[in-house]
Subunit: 470 residues, 2 copies
């Protein structure tokens, strides 16, 4: 039986996400990102469309590479102004029952001890529907404002591994399943013998104490990652349950998928345990002609400067210094060449110009734009899944929420009719809905295999010297 | 005209707040703190009762002073398990229109750059109803787990002053009022010339960049503080718009109020600009007898060990080492004597024992317990306000949400009938509702008087050397 196709909605708590310039379209509602009702409406729509979840991107800085300042990003609202992603999750959870929430939180922004509490709280409030997109990198401007020295790429992954050690210990090992007694007659809320200080003494973090939260439905949130560098893939293979990838062609995506699943196998995990979502923009309507007209209408709002501000932020290359007809392969920095390789890889026989790349990412970001009536879009999505080995799509939008409304109203029923999309949600936590198992991480995940060491085998009543740590 | 009395609800995202032991009462619902519907119901109740707001306490650690470990705190659920307070605010805001939200966030837990974004986001999502309880101190156990060296008390206030400098600059001075143009025709979302890097270079923080958020309704959240130390009062006088105080008697509270208002005057502010709320527990019913019976019922659930775990955490004195009949004035540490002075000050002619203090704080914490039918409670609350100079009360509870339901159903109508409580909310932000002015901090507040310095007067297009900071 052909596998069901999964949808996530790719969002950001900002006025412009992956379609810079499109905020100028008269029907776009992205500027309502500060309005809670904007998020409530989105959540209801996505649950109606049986989406796996909404995936919230985040950065903690501005795209200020283009022309060496933030002017272009500000002028075009390119991911700035930008609000905190965590705080819209309780709103969306409260009006839904099944929808999941994948929230991007960079490791460097918050201490693991307080971060662990935030995520446990969200897992409680969503009744086990929260996921965490683990980001190790960050914008240079974020690091500067946080007083962090930006570390070399691979070092960041080492620190990330320790960060995960800490939060795993807090989430998975500090409280035993039956620690919370809540026995009114005995007067025992928690059995202290079943709550363990994690005793973490590492290179970057010292966290001796207990987790502050009682176990939430999933304990560890569903783990998402988006790394496609070599070290990033290894990290994803070790930790991630879901991975987001983006690229302009099936060829590029198929290679990522192969490499990711190989890396997962190398970690001793079942390669099919990893769910992989590819970024895509779907433009659809009642007919092919209607969809094509819609796309042409959207394309008229692509803004080259806005796109290049975004592309400059992603790549670290200041594209204000190049003419639009400059071929990308002649860009004179390693970073630029490497970051932009995916464009040229899409069609090795072709050379992309700066202007072509800007137009490409100007509508829907780094993924394909799939246009047509429901049948044509369903054909194309199915081909992507079947030919690349992905499990579903991380759907960007041209206009909020019109683009996703179109998907829900046209494409979802078509895929359901073909038996390639869920009719109803299965019960349980987000992890149940994604993997049919849960609510906890599978027993062979690195988080579950950890040991707290000495702290776990100590008697319930700690020795005086250790008492202060409990 | 006698002034109206104001109510806040004093809460914590935990199973037990200021009435340790009372979770054992069969009608208590505090254990539902992990359930979003628990908070939604509370918010609706408080808005029905025309409360100013809900005030969320927080710590980021456990009370582990008693017997040198966390066993007693865990066993009795004394403020542990404990979830994050920020994440329930969007839930409560979404089902209300007027209720305010005062959230406790300690300065030491998060960098001001990311914290500023969180609060701006909350101010947007609540449509201008968020307040921030500025806490400079923290539990020793929190500092330990965050890898923070705990600093001397007065040093913490110096760092706090700089922290506030940073967030004030971000909230008040980075974005001009008309920076957001959102002009679809011109293609200008933000006018870059009206967004200013704050250029903060201080002893503890370096934050060169711009605030990530567009101006929220109030910009700076309403500022709450609870410091009663000498340095704490100075800090409150400089920054706070509202202050919470707690003490067992009118004598103690009247002195705090005098000292606070004098300190505000010393800062050149109008002493009546500060709203002061005193902690209190109100136990009421249809008759005095019913209220008295309710109180007796509640008192049967006071738990001495739970109370002493809390009192030990507050004072830093390990009360497990003293017999219950030990007089507090003979405690052998300075910290213990100082922290417990408020009990003895309540009635200088009387010596409190450890057991008496435990029973006192075991029901409603450090404030008075005011018991009776609506008329008697209204008399007593009015006397407190008129004799001490406070503006209202920070109401703790014995049982969730029974205690506050009783207040809303009995006491609020009685006070309204006497013309001492609002009948309807005034329109506008939380600051409007509290002060009749707003939405921004008054022009003479220290936050408004700041200058960004050179960065503010630079030309719109920054010089290359500064470009990366914008």
């Amino acid at each position: 039986m052909a596998k069901e196709i999964r949808f996530n909605a790719f969002q950001m708590n900002a006025a412009s996400h992956q379609s810079p310039g499109l905020w100028r379209h008269p029907r776009d509602q992205s500027h309502r990102y500060t309005d809670p009702d904007h998020w409530v409406a989105l959540a209801r729509l996505l649950e109606q469309g049986r989406f796996d979840g909404v995936f919230l991107a985040d950065v903690l800085g501005v795209n200020d590479t283009y022309a060496g300042n933030a002017d272009a990003a500000l002028r075009h609202g390119v991911q700035v102004p930008l609000n905190d992603p965590l705080l819209v999750v309780p709103l969306m959870a409260q009006v839904t029952t099944h929808l999941g929430f994948g929230v991007t939180c960079a490791l460097s922004y918050e201490h693991p001890y307080s971060f662990a509490r935030r995520m446990s709280t969200l897992d409680h409030l969503t009744r086990g529907r929260v996921g965490w997109n683990i980001v190790t990198g960050y914008l240079e401007s974020a690091a500067r404002n946080l007083g962090i020295e930006r570390r070399p790429h691979d070092d960041r992954y080492d620190q990330a591994d320790e960060y995960l050690d800490v939060v795993y210990k807090l989430w998975e090992h500090s409280w035993e399943d039956d620690a919370v007694r809540r026995d009114r007659a005995l007067g025992v809320y928690v059995d202290p013998a079943k709550v363990h200080p994690i005793g973490h003494q590492g290179e970057h973090y010292q966290v001796p104490g207990i987790h502050l939260c009682e176990p939430s439905p999933q304990r560890t949130p569903v783990l998402y990652q988006a790394g496609t560098s070599k070290r990033g893939k290894r990290f994803a293979a070790r930790h991630a349950e879901c991975v987001f990838v983006s690229g302009p062609s099936k060829t590029v995506i198929a290679r990522y998928v192969r490499e990711l699943r190989d890396a997962v196998a190398d970690e001793g995990r079942d390669p099919s345990d990893l769910l992989i979502y590819a970024q895509a923009l779907v433009i659809t309507g009642r007919t092919d002609a209607e969809a094509a007209a819609k796309r042409a209408d959207y394309e008229a709002y692509i803004d080259t400067e806005a796109s290049l501000a975004l592309l400059s932020g992603w790549t670290g290359v200041d594209f204000s210094r190049y003419p639009l007809d400059a071929p990308i392969e002649y860009l004179d920095t390693d970073a630029g060449r490497a970051a932009l390789a995916s464009f040229t890889q899409a069609d090795p026989s072709r050379i992309w110009t700066v202007g072509e790349a800007a137009r490409f990412i100007g509508l829907g970001g780094r993924g394909p734009v799939i246009t047509g009536d429901a049948a044509r879009v369903a054909d194309e999505l199915t081909a992507w899944v079947d030919e690349t080995g992905i499990d579903g799509f991380n759907l960007t939008f041209a206009l909020a929420h019109e683009t996703l409304q179109d998907v829900v109203h046209h494409v979802v029923p078509e895929l359901q009719q073909r038996g390639r999309y869920r009719q109803v949600y299965s019960p349980g936590t987000l992890r149940h809905k994604l993997f049919g198992l849960g609510p906890r991480l599978s027993a062979d995940h690195v988080a579950r295999r950890q040991q707290l060491g000495a702290a776990r085998t100590q008697p319930a009543a700690p020795e005086p010297a250790d008492a202060a740590l409990s």
